[in-house]
């Protein structure tokens, strides 16, 4: 394992994808920090990335990791790794090498210093090459550490960090109806790559997996498309595969006070290394598409608690109107049913608990019975899952009318450390120092 090259000025020795674009005459559109995306008007958030174009670069260094409040990109490649070495020094060296590679790739450069085509003919290239000529595409690479990195199934302290495991990283309980597959769940380290070009996201994960050979092994991975949440007011609320707008009441990048209260681990919450970080819960939720599609519109809207067209709460006119959970219809029944998804998930019904969701649709082909193997890859960031995801999901799992059409297949829980500050910093430095 080589030391990460921390000298910004020497990184361009490989072919810079961004530079290649510029040379090719694409002009300023490919250059970070120049073009301003339409509609990306900010209310004073700290994420300068929201002003990038879809092709531009999102800054890698910062107080928090990119890929959380960054306006949700269109594509996802998510991977969970098992750490297969027992050697702490090798794991640390990998985290350093990964950080350097991630900094390069998010800037639109090759994964390695030599690059996909710059090396000697006898050696395999240190970048796999499929992103050559592509712009950064707002690639973000976000890393998290799972409970099993701290202690294995036998309770052993694997890397001398067991005493630094945050209490908030408590194993999730079994929720009613869970049909989790262990081989698709958990993992010691996760990497979330989001980009506006699927090839750029896949390139990032593929190269990190390759760099990690011998230290980590891919446990499971998931491709996603069509973001199902907006994480910024500049973004329209997208639709999930049920055809409904999803994430209307999501935490958004502009809500600075709420983000402090609900998203970022604060000093004093737990171990110091997590201050400025966030806890990630992933759930692969299969949707029973065909049976859903056969259900009447009124039933679908009753299950969700919103109209399918505008996304307005039932009984209201516009998407962002606050739902009224008390109002009853002419028939004396609650307009938003006791079992409606929006009621059970709403902060007002959960002691104010909120999540920052940035999940993606998935279609993994079909299932052999002629049905789409499809659904939602749910991704939620939060300050403390014990106070946020766990109580919310407990209520949903018990009562949500939507459960008839859902199967939870996989579950993941990760502590995502704060941002990499500068070229001398690396993922997990405070945890392993």
């Amino acid at each position: 394992m080589s030391e990460p090259n921390t000298d910004e000025t020497t990184r361009g020795t490989g072919v810079s994808r961004r530079r290649a674009i510029t040379l090719a005459g694409a002009g300023v559109a490919g250059v970070a920090g120049v073009a301003v995306g339409a509609g990306a008007l900010l209310g004073g958030g700290d994420q300068a990335s929201a002003t990038e174009t879809a092709a531009g670069a999102v800054p890698f260094h910062g107080e928090h990791q990119a890929g959380i409040t960054t306006p949700a990109q269109d594509r996802l490649h998510f991977v969970a790794f098992d750490v297969i070495t027992k050697d702490r020094a090798r794991l640390v060296a990998l985290l350093q090498e990964w950080t350097a590679a991630a900094a390069r790739m998010t800037a639109g450069k090759d994964a390695g210093l030599i690059g996909a085509v710059g090396g000697v003919p006898e050696a395999p290239p240190d970048d796999t090459g499929e992103a050559l000529g592509l712009p950064p595409s707002q690639l973000t690479i976000t890393v998290g550490f799972g409970p099993t990195l701290f202690r294995d199934a036998q309770g052993r302290d694997r890397f001398g960090i067991a005493d630094k495991r945050p209490a908030a990283l408590a194993d999730l309980p079994h929720f009613a109806g869970d049909a989790l597959k262990p081989e698709l769940s958990g993992g010691d380290i996760c990497v979330q790559a989001c980009a506006n070009d699927p090839q750029v996201a896949v390139h990032a994960i593929r190269n990190l997996a390759r760099i990690g050979m011998g230290v980590v092994s891919v446990r499971w991975s998931q491709l996603g498309f069509g973001r199902t949440s907006s994480t910024s007011r500049g973004q329209a609320t997208p639709r999930n595969l049920f055809g409904f707008k999803d994430g209307t009441a999501n935490l958004k990048a502009e809500d600075a006070d709420l983000l402090r209260e609900q998203l970022w681990a604060q000093p004093g919450d737990g171990p110091a290394w997590m201050a400025g970080g966030s806890y990630l819960v992933t759930r692969k939720i299969r949707m029973l598409i065909e049976t859903w599609d056969r259900s009447p519109l009124a039933e679908q809207e009753m299950i969700v608690g919103r109209t399918k067209g505008s996304g307005a709460p039932l009984g209201k006119r516009a998407e962002f109107d606050e739902p009224d959970f008390a109002v009853k219809g002419d028939d004396g029944e609650l307009v938003i049913a006791e079992t409606a998804h929006v009621r059970l998930a709403h902060p007002d019904q959960n002691d104010g608990a909120r999540l920052l969701r940035r999940g993606y649709n998935f279609v993994d082909g079909s299932d052999g019975l002629g049905r789409l193997d499809a659904g939602l890859f749910f991704i939620a960031y939060q300050r403390d899952p014990r106070k946020q995801f766990v109580p919310i999901q407990t209520r949903l799992a018990r009562n949500d009318a939507m459960n008839e059409y859902l199967r939870h297949m996989s579950s993941g829980l990760f502590a995502c450390p704060p941002g990499v500050r500068d070229a001398g910093d690396w993922w997990g430095r405070a945890l392993f120092s």
């Binding site: 297969i84 090396g119 000697v120 003919p121 006898e122 395999p124 390759r210 011998g214 230290v215 092994s217």
Partner: protein
């Protein structure tokens, strides 16, 4: 069986070897040892008559008084084979002649032809000239040629026995011999495969045989042995297998691989494991894939060992990494020993196969860097 061929870059000629040192044979050195050193090999011991000797040409006389077939090796650091005799049947003696410069070595008997063997130290003293970098590379070709010759000799013998068993319709014996004969094939597969026309006849799998070409060779007989258990009609196929193996042995023995070819061969053998053996595709009827896995691994290690003196001079860190990862794969694979052989592919769980796959990946990545080190 693999689909890609050895890459032989045009520039490889630059690295081809001239004036090899240590080719063995003929050189009447002053430091020559007196008389053969006796080695008494049994199923549980390996007594070497002398453990401190003088540099030069050395002869070992290995007598197998055990009940298992034995092998005898002289290893330099990193298990680089300086010389070996394979296939010493119980009750027989064989001689090994080997040129040993001053240094520290290990001797090993391998009763049952498996595992690390019963090791002993061997100290060779005398004048030891430091090998210049280019000469170190030059020795690689000769060193690997010795290895190929030892393997082809055993391949021929074991194929003869296998063919005899098939023709005698002795299904049980043929099944026992099948993975053993293939071990010698799989160890030097990249060399054998450089002869494109013979490889599919000897080692072609059913799905890669082209239209109009008969399905012959090891895998055809494998299919008959393990599916119908009837090889009574396979006499001609068995005869042809032996003819083809003889042809390839003659060609392989004459082949001198450049250091760059050795580096690529070491990697190619691991690619074989990753793509054909982990998946159970290679031995789909006998499920003896782990035998091939082990043989590919040994062959890869032998190629790296031949390059070792040069690699130690050019990239000692890479050598360390390779040693670690080879040891790791060996430990992972070692869990699946069964007697003197290996468990069947079908006896391994998905988790166990993934563990093996991870360890091969961990080794293959640093091995993929060897070629560039050799070429610079």
């Amino acid at each position: 069986m693999r689909t890609t061929r050895f890459v032989v870059p045009a520039a490889a000629g630059v690295l081809a070897v001239a004036g090899l040192a240590g080719c063995g044979g003929g050189d009447d050195s002053d430091a020559k040892a007196d008389g053969p050193i006796a080695v008494k090999a049994t199923d549980s011991a390996c007594e070497v008559g002398a453990t401190e000797i003088v540099a030069g040409q050395v002869t070992f006389k290995v007598t197998n008084s055990g009940s298992k077939v034995n092998e005898f090796y002289v290893y330099a650091a990193g298990d680089r084979v300086m010389g070996e005799v394979e296939n010493i049947a119980p009750g027989l003696s064989r001689e090994l002649r080997v040129e040993l410069p001053a240094g520290t070595y290990e001797t090993a008997c391998k009763p049952g032809m498996s595992g690390r063997g019963i090791r002993g130290a061997l100290k060779v003293s005398g004048t030891a000239a430091t090998v210049a970098p280019d000469a170190a590379l030059g020795q690689a070709t000769a060193s690997y040629q010795r290895y190929v010759q030892s393997q082809t000799a055993a391949l021929l013998t074991k194929t003869e026995e296998f063919v005899a068993a098939v023709k005698a319709n002795d299904v049980a014996r043929a099944k026992d011999l099948y993975p053993v004969a293939r071990t010698y094939w799989e160890r030097i597969e990249p060399v054998a495969e450089s002869f494109g026309d013979l490889d599919p006849k000897i080692d072609g799998r059913e799905e890669v045989v082209e239209e109009g070409m008969p399905f012959t060779g090891f895998h055809r007989i494998e299919k008959d042995l393990w599916t119908t258990g009837d090889v009574s009609k396979d006499g001609a196929i068995a005869d042809q297998l032996l003819v083809d193996v003889k042809a390839i042995v003659a060609k392989a023995n004459a082949e001198k691989l450049t250091p760059l070819q050795l580096a690529n061969g070491a990697k190619a053998l691991l690619d074989e494991v990753a793509s054909g053996k982990i998946t159970g595709e290679e031995e789909r009827y006998s499920h003896t894939d782990l035998w091939d896995f082990n043989a590919n691994l040994e062959g890869s290690k032998a190629a790296i060992a031949a390059l070792r003196p040069a690699l130690e001079q050019r990239s000692p860190d890479l050598v360390k990494q390779l040693d670690t990862e080879f040891a790791n794969v060996e430990a992972m694979l070692g869990k699946h020993r069964a007697g003197d052989g290996w468990k069947l592919h079908t006896q391994l769980s998905k988790t166990e196969l993934k563990e093996l796959s991870d360890s091969i990946n961990a080794l293959a990545e640093p091995i993929s860097k060897v070629a560039a080190v050799v070429a610079r």
